[in-house]
Symmetry: C2
Subunit: 225 residues, 2 copies
Amino acid sequence: MTDYLKTIHKSKLFRKVPETDLEPLLEQLDSQLKFYRAGQVAVTAGRRVRRVGLILEGTFNMYEYDFWGREHHIDTLKSGMLLLENNAVSGTVTIHNYTAMESSVILWFNIREILRLDETHTSNTILIQSFMKELARKNLQLYTRLSDLDRMSTKEKLLSFLSKEALRHNSDEFDIPFDRKQLAEYLSVERSAMSAELSALAKAGYLETRRNHFKLLKPSLRTED
Amino acid sequence: MTDYLKTIHKSKLFRKVPETDLEPLLEQLDSQLKFYRAGQVAVTAGRRVRRVGLILEGTFNMYEYDFWGREHHIDTLKSGMLLLENNAVSGTVTIHNYTAMESSVILWFNIREILRLDETHTSNTILIQSFMKELARKNLQLYTRLSDLDRMSTKEKLLSFLSKEALRHNSDEFDIPFDRKQLAEYLSVERSAMSAELSALAKAGYLETRRNHFKLLKPSLRTED
DNA sequence: TTCAAGATGTTGGAATTCCAACATCGCTGT
DNA sequence: ACAGCGATGTTGGAATTCCAACATCTTGAA
């Protein structure tokens, strides 16, 4: 554990816990390090979850099986991200599976331990704050993508995504964090069709783009029409 | 406030707080009742959020405007649900707007107040537990829909949704909580096209359905082929 | 500078979905 | 039983998207 104290203390979750309090806190949380080799299954769907995992190193594939046994990718979880946080808090059974995509390390800990009524140290409160922030952050992130996918056409998905990017950068001109392939995957559409739609949008005067740089155009401000 | 104490105490959030502690707790949270008439805008995008809202009565439309000023519906929030919980916790600015769809009542309160390091009563811990559970529950709900929308075809969206319904009911035969119109809206596809796709799936031996009742069929167990 | 590989744009036919219009079904009230 | 209305299924043409194949552009390495 001590080998990873620094890494743990760098995570968003534990960053604000005073360094001297960290080790006793981890103790209180009944925490435990686990190591996974590439390809190793870390969590299987159907198990009741008690602990939350904090990924200290590595990457995990989060996926599910449908009724007919087909596998579907849900998310890719990287270092610093949490794992099973929702099920641990709500005391529910996961429907997801998690597999290490490379050599990885997870810190498992019992977040409910910190909510015990009789234990109320400063560090506990700090951790709870950080943990709640993580839950809220994830919620907002899911809402964001959901509102992009909740459209009937590629065009509308693109406009939804780009609108929010403009808002996020507080400018009508910005760089997006995806290349075309990643953007298509994010929007769940086919890459070349999306490319074509971007060209159509540019021709229609909605935007200008080159690589991952975009400039959105208001109808009245369009350079040409 | 006293008129609504019972309603507040019935909510998932405050249910577990001892009845005698409720009023002082609400006081501590700097809480406040607000009344909205049908059509009244409750929250406008762009404001930094401090308080969380608990809907005591009524319904709110949660929506956003895109870069070109077009309005898009995001969610419908009903009695007992929270409002701005994510932005309040993470201290971020909302990009959403909220409008009362009927005569409504919201209890606004400062959830961060409860995380103050010097205040650690039993009721606080209980509230924090409930609040975190709500965040986690919402997260799981968003993940669920996201994985349904994250497909390229109506067929796959349907199979994804139905798979999880089967899992939820722990049976290959179940009733879904939607009629066709609602299901189409949930999956962001066109109703009649979805209906046609359901017929095709039935013909292909994936399922049997009548109204909101479904039975999923494994290839090897299909009654015919 | 040149080359190779990856990223992006374009194209055409197949497949899917949208959309409107209409048929049928099923439930409810009379 | 019957009328009426909303829910559901079906259909055909228009529009969109998928998909594969290929052209062009960019970037990094040699």
